[in-house]
């Protein structure tokens, strides 16, 4: 089971409930704006403690409200590309990329710095600070940063939005490669139907 | 309008605080408006007068500042006079012995051992200047100088002895009498320093109708009695 997630949460009177059991290598999480997709990703990454539920990825238990299991984010090793980028503003792009890479055991790394920079086309941005990046540039660096932390699974929150077609195609191919060759479970949030059909083995809808 | 209901504004050295409260009360008992008393370091008060503070009388713990004001013409001529004197004593800390200490070379040093001698800052604060002069006159300055801890004023010097941080302290007799638990180990001879005097004068810019009368009251027998009660000594040769 790549993703085995069951959770209940609420913000005020906004209830979010999800039951997701997927064996697909890439699972797409879709649903209208505000349905709770980002909330689910946050819960899986360990950034939000759901009211109740159970989260296991690739057979590894990350959270269980019944038994009190709650691994800290750094132990979960999610490769989370945030919807809003969330780059470290005081570090140059190169340092942002290196942040998780340095912390990952070198044996666990499955993609090299050079490869990421090349595939995402961010070579010319390495010495820039995030404040001086365009929207799409931020997104690409955020994806690169997540990939380089040697994650055990990927959480991609709308990774292709605000990218031009050519760039989006390159990154879609990269995702396909990760999915097929590396067998890293991927949970992808997307609003693009074509993208979901192309990439996902299973689609879970949140309402 | 305020002038009618309010007595003269009196700037008095901080060490005069209590005595002035009582003098003021006696003045009020005679049917006058209560004087407005402000106490601070003599230096601060003198500077206020220099800058035209709306005050009527000045009582200094320090002849130097009074001289300075007189030279610069800020005092009403003929109104200056000493209203009290004081005596310097050596006090010891609690449980540090009560025997008298002879103020001769060797004895003070011996009594001090490796302890501290607290006094008001000897270079500037009046009590410290008198103390330094006395120690020098008695030939003691050189041997105790390294152990002196100069304080901001006499009360702070006293407090250091009270806390036991200093073994001995040089303070005014008027201060020493407020701490009966600290033994007076010696009194400095009056001849070892210039006389300790508290001069009072009316400030030149004063316009308060009661100023002269209050000034006279300060030199009168009733005020003298109150000052004596607070440990000040009478002025050697009485002046107007």
């Amino acid at each position: 089971m790549s993703f085995d997630v069951h959770l209940n949460h609420a913000f005020g009177d906004r209830h979010i409930a999800l039951r997701l059991q997927s064996d697909a290598r890439l699972t797409a999480l879709v649903g209208p704006s505000g349905a709770g997709k980002t909330t689910v990703l946050n819960a899986i990454a360990g950034l939000l403690r759901p009211y109740s539920g159970r989260i296991a990825v690739n057979g590894q238990l990350l959270f269980d409200s019944a038994t009190g299991v709650n691994q800290p984010p750094e132990a979960r090793r999610a490769g989370y590309a945030f919807q809003d980028g969330r780059l470290f503003p005081h570090m140059r792009v190169a340092a942002n990329l290196a942040y998780g890479e340095r912390l990952a055991p070198s044996a666990d790394r499955w993609i090299s710095n050079a490869e990421v920079i090349d595939l995402l086309g961010i070579d010319h941005l390495l010495t820039r600070f995030p404040a001086h990046l365009s929207g799409g540039e931020v997104r690409r660096v955020a994806i690169g940063r997540a990939l380089l932390s040697a994650p055990r699974f990927l959480l991609l929150d709308e990774p292709l939005s605000s990218l031009d077609a050519a760039r989006a195609e390159e990154i879609a191919r990269l995702i396909e490669r990760i999915r097929d060759q590396l067998a890293i479970p991927i949970l992808l949030v997307s609003h693009d139907h074509a993208e979901v059909t192309r990439l996902a083995g299973e689609v879970v809808t949140l309402v | 309008a305020e002038e009618d209901t309010q007595g003269p504004v009196v700037l008095a050295a901080a060490s005069m605080q209590q005595a002035m409260d009582d003098v003021g009360a006696a003045w009020v008992a005679q049917g006058h408006a209560a004087p407005v008393v402000s106490t601070a370091a003599s230096s601060a008060l003198a500077r206020q007068i220099e800058q035209g503070a709306p005050a009527d009388l000045f009582i200094s713990a320090d002849e130097k500042w009074m001289d300075h004001l007189q030279r610069t013409g800020l005092l009403r001529t003929g109104t200056r006079g000493n209203i009290a004197g004081n005596v310097l004593v050596l006090i010891g800390r609690k449980n540090g012995g009560t025997s008298a200490i002879e103020l001769v070379p060797g004895a003070l040093k011996a009594a001090l051992a490796d302890g501290r001698l607290s006094m008001a800052e000897p270079g500037s604060v009046p009590a410290g200047r008198y103390g330094k002069a006395a120690l020098e006159a008695l030939g003691l300055w050189a041997e105790v100088a390294p152990q002196i801890t100069p304080a901001e004023n006499v009360r702070a010097a006293l407090a250091l002895v009270q806390r036991g941080e200093a073994s001995l302290g040089i303070v005014y007799a008027s201060d020493a009498r407020t701490t009966p638990d600290l033994p007076v180990r010696a009194a400095f001879p009056q001849t070892s320093h210039t006389p300790i005097l508290y001069p009072a004068a009316i400030i030149g810019a004063s316009s308060h109708p009661d100023a002269a009368a209050f000034r006279a009251f300060l030199s009168g027998p009733e005020a003298a009695a109150i000052l004596a009660r607070h440990g000040f000594t009478p002025v050697p040769s009485s002046q107007p």
Binding site: - | Q17, A44, Q48, Q51, A53, P54, R155, T179
Partner: protein, 233 residues
């Protein structure tokens, strides 16, 4: 604690509160303007202005009091003018104590304001401008409220500092019971008196309680603001 003493202590507390509150109110807008200037503008005399603002922090308070006396005394450049033009006298008045406290609080308050103004995202001001806001309106509705944590911190710092101000006050405004004898001056006076420790302790406790009250109020206010969407992030 006899009741006569209680009454005079009460008067001291009221005076101290009056002086401190007036000082803080006086300084708040000035400090904010200075904080804004230092945070948002680069101009030639900037360092000098910064230095001037910090002067009362660096100099011993007594010197600041003396400088105030030189400037705002009746013979001083500004003091004389104030008296001639408006009949305003500051020395020996509670207003003078408030001025002394204000000057001493200024550098602390400017720093707090400046830090918070620097933390406001300027792009939000740009967004407001595209929506039709003038410079001034955008300032009022965006920069000002978003720097509220700094204003609050400045007010608390300034209030506490004013409550504890001694040296400049005694030098400039003197130590007159009922007019300029604030809590610290009363404490000083108590320290001069034999056996004044009990009074000093009582007054010190009052000071502490007042400042705790101010801190509590500011924490509550801050939490209310934080509650509003945690924008103080």
């Amino acid at each position: 604690m006899n009741s006569a003493l209680g009454a005079s202590e009460w008067a001291i507390v009221v005076l101290s509160l009056k002086v401190s509150l007036v000082a803080v109110m006086l300084v708040l807008p000035v400090a904010y303007a200075l904080g804004w200037l230092l945070a948002r503008r680069r101009f030639p005399g900037m360092l000098l202005l910064d230095g001037l603002v910090n002067l009362p922090l660096v100099l011993p308070p007594v010197v600041t009091g003396w400088l105030l006396l030189l400037l705002f005394g009746r013979n001083g450049a500004i003091g004389g003018w104030l008296e001639n033009q408006f009949g305003v006298v500051l020395v020996f008045r509670w207003t003078g104590a408030a001025l002394a406290a204000a000057v001493m609080a200024l550098p602390l308050m400017v720093r707090a304001m400046r830090l918070s103004i620097e933390a406001v995202d300027r792009r939000l001001v740009g967004a407001a401008r595209t929506l039709g806001a003038s410079r001034w309106y955008a300032f009022r509705t965006i920069t000002l409220p978003l720097s509220a944590p700094g204003i609050l911190a400045a007010a608390v710092l300034g209030f506490a500092r004013s409550l504890g101000e001694f040296g400049a006050t005694v030098t400039f405004a003197s130590n007159i019971a009922g007019e300029t004898r604030t809590l610290p001056l009363a404490i000083y006076t108590g320290l001069q008196a034999p056996g004044g420790e009990a009074l000093v302790t009582r007054l010190a406790i009052i000071s502490v309680v007042l400042s705790l009250g101010a801190l509590l109020a500011s924490e509550l206010l801050a939490r209310r603001m934080m509650g509003r969407g945690g924008h103080v992030l």
